[in-house]
Every structure is written in structure tokens, then in C-alpha cells.
């Protein structure tokens, strides 16, 4: 009896306390879990009357969620989602165009081209190969230097890659290969690569973590987990293939029709501000505001030059078509591909 009344009293008290809290902003994000706390604390320090409620999942899932909720949006803003996904949302008329305070300092190719922009970039993340040196030596594997090298039959079942349908990292890889090699050659390349893939993961950082643990010697991932794991002492070599690195912008946008428009605008302002750039600086080597980023020891000095020329409009317009083709070819076919 006592337990029940205590529980009921506790629940009522929690509800009452919650009712008098500040503006609660529901923010959808695909940021890495380890980054969420620092970003939230920095924003709330500057805006004590706003509280962020994160809804975090991988890029593909967040995008699907937002699109499914198109008629009744649950999110107020998006802080940290792939630019190609935000471009799809803009095309569906789901974003509120707003020019944040610091917009003139943001690089012109790191934001939505329209004026005012529907989304503004934060930082860039690019494809990176995590190569486990200890395992490679044990299994006698040569170190790859180009994307083409990965089709070498010696790597059979030794490569892990994110699934482009659920992971933004996976999609930027596929989009980059199709843009770099051309459509026909791109699919031919992926056919050969598929024979060497041991597993497709759902998260973009998992391949690097698997490579760090030696579970699979080669992981196609992006630079943030590679650098973090290398700093923790994992036997990783960070390989940046010669043909060029696919990349994606992490960006922020306001959902149209949000009940907390003023608070969401403050979030957009913060995301593009100098303070936020200083936060992103610790995690990413290329930022949307040029001139602030610091060189990472683990990455070469010409890192930004290795990024390919990326056509985001093409990537977002063709996303559904590319993913459908990818699923048809590689997502669990019963018969092996004709050789």
C-alpha cells in the first residue's frame, strides 16, 4: 500500500516539477553519442531558459522518422544531421528558412545556397579507412592506398562498411564512388567490393571500432572515431585513399511549424556561432567557418584538399534511387552475384 502511494506521490511531484520547467526543445540529431553532453551543456549555459531534449539515432533512421512525421512534426529543430538529408527535408517543404547571426562567416559551400538558407553547416566529416596494423601483419595483408585496392581478393571477408540506408557515412561513400568513378564504373566497383565485405553495420562509427578491436582488419568509417580510437591506443593506421575522400556536411535546421520558433532560432544562432565552432573544433578537422580549425596530429596537413568535389543536390535528389539500387544488389540477396 505504502509503495503505491509513494510511487503515485513521486510521479505527481515529478509532473508538477516538470510543468514549471523552461522551454523544452525537441532536437533530432545524428551526432555521435559522446558529443551530445558537451554540446547540450554549452548551449544551455548560454540560454538557461531553454532545455534540449535529444532524440538521437543514425542518419538514415532520423531522416526516415522526420519524413514519416511530416504531417505532425514532433521535432522542433535538427542539430547535426547530414546535409543531403536536410536537402530532402527542404525539398519536402519541412524546413523554416532562417539566417543565423554568424551566417556571413560560414563558407558558401557549407550551407544551403538559398537566401535565407534552410540549413547551415557545422562541420565536415569525410570517409576514412581504419586499418589494424597488428591484424594485418598476422594475416599478411598489404596496406591499401587507393579505393581500387580494396577490391583485391586477398581482403575477402575482411572489410566492414556501414549500410548506406541507415548510415550517413555509408551513403556518403556510395555517393562519392558514383561521382568519382561514374555511374556504371561505380556500381561495378561496388560489386567487386561487396565480395570482400564481411559485414554491413548500421552505425557509421562501428566499422572503425571493429577494426580497432581487431574483429575485422579494415573498416570504412569516418575520421572522428579513427582519431579518437588511435588516441586511446588502438593499433590503427588512418588511410586516406588517393582517389579522394567522399564527405558530408553536418548541419542544423529549424522544422517548419514548430511551437517554439524563438527558441529554435536561438539554437540555429548558437550552432553557427564562434563558440559552437570552438566545440566542433575538438572533434572535426574541417569546419563550416573557415580559418578556425586546428590541425589534427593524426591527419595529414593537406586533409581538406583531399575531399572530392561533391554535388549535394545530385546526392539528395538521387538518394531514394541509389538506395533502392543498392538494396537490390547487396542487401541480402539469396543468390550470389553473377561473376
Amino acid at each position: 500500500m505504502f509503495k503505491r502511494t509513494a510511487l503515485a506521490a513521486g510521479l505527481l511531484a515529478a509532473c508538477a516539477f516538470h510543468a514549471q520547467a523552461n522551454t523544452e526543445l525537441t532536437v533530432y540529431t545524428a551526432l555521435e553519442v559522446e558529443q551530445l553532453k558537451a554540446y547540450k551543456e554549452a548551449f544551455e549555459k548560454q540560454n538557461p531558459d531553454i532545455e534540449i531534449k535529444w532524440v538521437r539515432d543514425s542518419t538514415g533512421i532520423v531522416t526516415a522518422k522526420l519524413l514519416a512525421e511530416k504531417e505532425r512534426p514532433q521535432a522542433d529543430a535538427v542539430w547535426g544531421l547530414a546535409g543531403s538529408s536536410l536537402a530532402i527535408l527542404k525539398q519536402q517543404g519541412m524546413l523554416e528558412a532562417y539566417a543565423p547571426a554568424n551566417l556571413d562567416k560560414i563558407g558558401s559551400n557549407y550551407r544551403d545556397a538559398a537566401n535565407p538558407p534552410s540549413w547551415v553547416g557545422m562541420d565536415v566529416w569525410a570517409a576514412t579507412i581504419c586499418f589494424n596494423t597488428v591484424e594485418a601483419e598476422k594475416q599478411g595483408l598489404p596496406k591499401p592506398t587507393k579505393w581500387e585496392d580494396l577490391t583485391n581478393p586477398v581482403y575477402k571477408d575482411k572489410i566492414v562498411m556501414p549500410n548506406p540506408a541507415s548510415s550517413g557515412t555509408g551513403y556518403l561513400d556510395v555517393s562519392a564512388w558514383l561521382q568519382t568513378f561514374g555511374e556504371a564504373q561505380g556500381w561495378a566497383y561496388m560489386d567487386k567490393l561487396h565480395a570482400n565485405i564481411g559485414q554491413y553495420t548500421h552505425s557509421g562509427s562501428k566499422p572503425c571500432k571493429l577494426a580497432a578491436a581487431g574483429e575485422f582488419p579494415i573498416g570504412i568509417s569516418f575520421e572522428y572515431p579513427a582519431v579518437q580510437l588511435k588516441r586511446k591506443g588502438a593499433p590503427l593506421d588512418i588511410v586516406l585513399p588517393k582517389e579522394g575522400l567522399g564527405w558530408e556536411i553536418e548541419a542544423t535546421g529549424i522544422i517548419k511549424g514548430t511551437a517554439h520558433l524563438a527558441a529554435a532560432k536561438k539554437l540555429a544562432d548558437f550552432s553557427a556561432s564562434r563558440e559552437a565552432m570552438d566545440l566542433y573544433k575538438a572533434n572535426f578537422a574541417v569546419l563550416a567557418q573557415p580559418g578556425i580549425a586546428e590541425r589534427f596530429q593524426e591527419l595529414p596537413a593537406d586533409y581538406e584538399q583531399r575531399l572530392i568535389k561533391n554535388d549535394f543536390n545530385w546526392a539528395s535528389e538521387n538518394r531514394d534511387k541509389i538506395l533502392a539500387e543498392w538494396r537490390k544488389r547487396y542487401d541480402g540477396k539469396s543468390e550470389p552475384l553473377p561473376q
Partner: protein, 579 residues
């Protein structure tokens, strides 16, 4: 004894007639309110938490929005697509293999416990319950550390563990205790006269086994096969962790609903996954009716006689199985303490340093709240419900309630979760505010594990004679008071059993919760899945170990409380044979 009509007694004649009438009518009204009101409330609850979600899922699948993969056209396309047939084939292959591996092993184990004279039976029984105390992902995680590419025993495998064999071994470990429980009760009681007759007719032990033991436990074996098959085909905890690229239907339902927001497609797959459960449930009922009563009124309980060779053989088998289980779970616990597998094997508690974010300690606290609420509220609701069905006048309503209370047993957790998504996530449903809250998760958990708990309660209540109610009525005690002051305390062992069952099930369940959680109501088992998905396998092992230790701790605590309470309040009870 009719509990509804008050006893009219001549002893009341001395009372003021008006007072007598008031007392009598008050008593009648109170009892009527308790019984009828309680029954209708129970019906409403069952409809809301079991029937309507299932109906919502069926509707979404067949008549649903074509853009989300629903509707008859989509159903036909889905069933005829090669991808679907491949997924179905995979699911069937895995489930059949697991059933064929687990049931013989469980039979041997059950036979060793019930029909031989091996030593340390409580120890083997206890170890065999280990997989019940952890979510189904834990065997999968342990398998990665044992047989994965950096696994300790990697050399024993020619190919890697990810794929068909990983799923099979993981699910075999997960479903072993379930099969064991069914077979233990199937082999529990035997008639000693049959065995005496067999030996006096010169039959060999093998012949006696075939004619007596096997034919008596056949129905139990079939029930165990169906149970394991259904558990495997609807489980996705193991395939997610260790399946690699081997896709199964349960995983596809999850990807369709959570990954792609294709609710119609998810509903159709849910309907397909409901079929094996319904089928096996129906056949099981039919077989049960055909099964001759094994223990007649004049049967003598069979006590096995020691036999060196047989006992040694079964002891070895049992010990080997227990060793395998201990090895797997020990590996999982060890791996949660290793700093950085496999390059830094020093022990540390790093993986247990969960943050305050949704996937960390918040998830564990939510799980504790969920398990506690489900156990306490659920056991009270279920026990009261069982009382209202068993101990009152049998009407059409009680028959309907009895029928409805069997439905949750036939519905897998995954289908429950899907049904709740489709029912409670509708914008025009007044209850849609509950979606994503811990309250809904509590309701879903109680509904999911309703049947077994209700059957335990009903069995305990049936042991009580109707004379208790008669005594209460003749003393003019309202039925409600009688229920709480007399019936509940007498049935305390069963009640504690139900509390333990609901608590452990709520801590380890993931199939329904994975569709119904929000960042505020994330659960520990869901956090395990998310951490493994993100590559944090050490953290996943740590959280699974926490769940394991919590379930084990609470089970032991409740067992201790039960023992103490029984000694004090149930000393009048005589032990029943065979238990």
C-alpha cells in the same frame, strides 16, 4: 458455493429487521460491485491491452496505407517477392535447427533431474535457469568474445561465427531453460505400478522407456518443440548481435518499422510471425485434449532407483551442459571487465561508467521502475483477475475472460510491440498520449506475460476449497476483505512466484520494448542493443551483466522471503508429492 447470494440465516432473526436488511443489502451491493465491476474492468483491460492492438495491426496490414507498405496489393507483392521467401526460408531454417538441437538436450537434462538419482540436483537446476535472467543478446555477445575473429576459442571454428551458426548457438542457449521447464513438468510424475509391471514382465529399461516414459511425455516434447520454434522465429536479439549478414524475418520487421517507417510492411511481417505461434498453440490444445490422464486416482508416485551406469552417464551430460552455460555467461561477465579487448586485457570497470544520457544509467533506472511496477501492479491485477474468474459463479462473462486470458500466450513479444505501435500511435486515438511513456511499457509487459502468471494464480486458487468463501459470508465479511485478508496470504507462495516471474521478464524483455520506447523511457535491454549497434560491445556486455545480476539478486531475495514467510505462515501446509 455461490458467492453472490448472501446466506439467509435464522440467526439474523434476532436483529432489527431494518438493520438486517441494510446489512444484507450493503453486503450484496459491495460483493456485487467487487465481482461484476471487477470482471467488467478486467474485460476492458484485456480488450484494451491485448485485443485492440492485435486488431490494429491486422487492420494496418491489410487495409493500410499503400505508401507505407500496407494494403492487400502490398501484401500480395510482399509474399510473392523472392526477398521475402528468402527471409522466410532463413527464419524457418534457423528455428527448426534450434528446436531440433535444444529439445533433445533439454529432454536429457529433464530426465536426469526427474528420473535418475544423480547428485546435486538443485545446483544443476539453478545453473540451467541462467539464460532466463539475461536478455537474449547476452549469449550473442558472449559468442563474439568466444568465437569471434578475436575470440578465445576462434581456432575451434573453421568459418566465422557471424551468420547461421552464430544465431543457432545463441538462440539454443537462450531457449534452453524454456524447453527445460516444459519438459520438467512433462516428466514430473509417473506411475510406479507401470514400471513394476514392466520389470515383472521382463522388459528391458529401453523398452520400458519407450512404452511408458516416452508415450507419456510425447505431448510435452511437442509442446517444447513448438515453444522453442516460436521463440526463435520471433527473436531478433541474437540475430542483431551475431547474425552478420544472415537476415531473418524478425529483423526485417524491426528494420521496416523503426528503420524505414514502413508501418504497413511491418504489420504484414508481424502477421506472418503470428502464424507459427497460433498454429502451435492450436495443435497443443488439441493434443492436450487427446492426451490420456497419466496419473489416475490409484497411481503410486514413481521414485527412481539408483543405477550406477545410467546415473554416471546422465551426470556427465548434465555437467557438460551446465559447464557450457557457465562458460558462456562467465565469458560475458569477464568481457565486460576487460579494458580494451583484445589488446589490453587488464581488468577495469570502464565499461560500467555509463553516462547520464538515455543509453546509460537512465536506462537501468527505467528498467528497475518498469520491472518493479510490472511485478507489483501486475501480480495484484492478475491475481485479483484470476480470483474473479475462478472463485465466482461461472457465467458467459467468466468464460470469455478465461478465453481472452489465453490470447497473450499465443502472441509473440514482437507482435505485441507492433500492435501497440499501430494502436497507440494513431493521432485520433485518445490514448495516444501514452505512446513512448513508461506507463505504456508497463501495460505492455503485464499484457505480454499475462497468461503464465494467470495460470499460476488460477492453479493456486483452485487448490482452495469453496468453504473459505462460505465461512466469510456466514460471518458477514465483504468478499473484498476476505480476498485481501485470507485468500492472498494463503496463496502467498504463488503470489511471490508471479512477482518474481514478472520482474525478471520485465528486466530482460526487448522484443516489445524496442518499438515502444522513447529517449525518456529507454530500457536497459534496449540500451544493450543500441550500444552493440554503435560498436560499444564492452558497454553492451556490462549492461547485460547488470541486468543478469539484478534479476539474479531479486530472484534470490524473493526465494529467501518466500522461504521465511512459508515457514512462519504456512507451517500447516503438507508437502504435495512430486514437487
Amino acid at each position: 458455493m455461490d458467492a453472490e447470494t448472501p446466506v439467509s440465516a435464522g440467526s439474523q432473526a434476532r436483529l432489527n429487521p431494518q438493520l438486517k436488511d441494510t446489512l444484507a443489502s450493503n453486503g450484496v451491493i459491495a460483493d456485487r460491485l467487487f465481482i461484476k465491476g471487477g470482471q467488467w474492468l478486467l474485460l476492458a483491460l484485456l480488450l484494451l491491452t491485448v485485443v485492440f492492438p492485435l486488431a490494429a495491426m491486422l487492420w494496418r496490414g491489410i487495409a493500410g496505407d499503400a505508401s507505407q507498405g500496407g494494403g492487400m496489393q502490398a501484401a500480395i507483392t510482399l509474399v510473392s517477392s523472392a526477398n521475402f521467401r528468402w527471409l522466410l526460408g532463413n527464419s524457418l531454417k534457423v528455428s527448426l535447427t534450434v528446436a531440433l538441437i535444444v529439445v533433445p538436450l533439454a529432454y536429457a537434462f529433464a530426465y536426469a533431474l526427474q528420473r535418475t538419482c544423480i547428485r546435486a540436483k538443485p545446483l544443476w537446476r539453478g545453473i540451467s535457469l541462467l539464460p532466463l535472467l539475461a536478455p537474449s543478446m547476452l549469449p550473442g555477445i558472449a559468442l563474439i568474445y568466444l568465437f569471434g575473429n578475436q575470440g578465445v576459442l576462434r581456432g575451434l571454428l573453421s568459418d566465422n561465427i557471424y551468420g547461421f551458426w552464430g544465431i543457432v548457438i545463441g538462440q539454443a542457449i537462450y531457449t534452453f531453460p524454456h524447453a527445460l521447464m516444459v519438459l520438467l513438468s512433462a516428466l514430473a510424475l509417473a506411475d510406479a505400478r507401470l514400471f513394476d509391471a514392466a520389470s515383472s514382465m521382463g522388459a528391458s529399461p529401453w523398452r520400458a522407456f519407450r512404452s511408458i516414459t516416452w508415450s507419456g511425455s510425447r505431448q510435452g516434447v511437442f509442446a517444447a518443440l513448438c515453444l522453442v520454434f516460436t521463440l526463435c522465429i520471433t527473436d531478433f536479439g541474437v540475430p542483431v548481435v551475431v547474425g552478420g549478414d544472415y537476415q531473418v524475418l524478425a529483423l526485417e520487421a524491426y528494420k521496416a518499422v523503426v528503420g524505414q517507417q514502413q508501418f504497413g510492411r511491418g504489420a504484414l511481417i508481424g502477421m506472418v510471425l503470428l502464424l507459427p505461434a497460433l498454429l502451435s498453440f492450436a495443435v497443443d490444445l488439441w493434443l492436450r485434449r487427446r492426451q490420456r490422464d497419466a496419473m489416475g486416482g490409484r497411481a503410486q508416485v514413481y521414485h527412481p532407483r539408483p543405477s550406477r551406469g545410467r546415473d554416471l552417464a546422465f551426470l556427465c551430460t548434465t555437467a557438460l551442459i551446465c559447464l557450457a552455460l557457465l562458460g558462456v555467461f562467465g565469458m560475458a561477465i569477464y568481457s565486460s571487465l576487460v579494458k580494451f579487448w583484445p589488446y589490453n586485457l587488464s581488468l577495469s570497470l570502464d565499461h560500467y561508467a555509463f553516462s547520464e544520457l538515455p543509453g546509460g544509467w537512465l536506462a537501468y533506472r527505467n528498467s528497475l521502475v518498469l520491472a518493479g511496477c510490472s511485478a507489483l501492479f501486475g501480480s495484484l491485477v492478475i491475481f485479483t483477475g484470476a480470483y474473479l474468474i475462478e472463485k465466482t459463479r461461472q457465467t458467459a462473462l467468466t468464460q470469455l475472460l478465461r478465453l481472452l486470458s489465453f490470447v497473450p500466450m499465443a502472441v509473440p513479444g514482437l507482435v505485441f510491440g507492433l500492435g501497440y505501435v499501430f494502436f497507440f500511435n494513431q493521432p485520433n486515438n485518445p490514448l495516444s498520449g501514452l505512446y513512448g511513456t513508461l506507463t505504456l511499457l508497463v501495460l505492455c509487459t503485464i499484457a505480454h506475460f499475462f497468461t503464465t502468471a494467470q495460470m499460476t494464480a488460477a492453479a493456486a486458487l483452485r487448490q482452495l476449497d469453496g468453504e473459505y468463501e462460505a465461512a466469510a459470508l456466514s460471518l458477514k465479511v465483504p468478499l473484498v476483505r476476505h480476498f485481501f485478508r485470507v485468500t492472498l496470504p494463503i496463496c502467498l507462495p504463488a503470489l511471490l512466484d508471479i512477482i518474481r516471474y514478472l520482474f525478471v521478464s520485465a528486466m530482460t524483455t526487448v522484443s516489445a520494448a524496442i518499438f515502444l520506447y522513447s529517449p525518456d523511457s529507454v530500457l536497459a535491454a534496449v540500451a544493450v542493443l543500441n550500444m552493440d549497434d554503435a560498436g560499444n560491445v564492452g558497454g553492451a556486455a556490462a549492461m547485460s551483466t547488470l541486468i543478469l545480476l539484478t534479476s539474479a539478486g531479486v530472484s534470490l531475495l524473493l526465494a529467501g522471503v518466500s522461504r521465511g514467510l512459508l515457514r512462519r505462515s504456512q507451517a500447516w501446509r503438507q508437502p504435495t508429492p512430486g514437487l
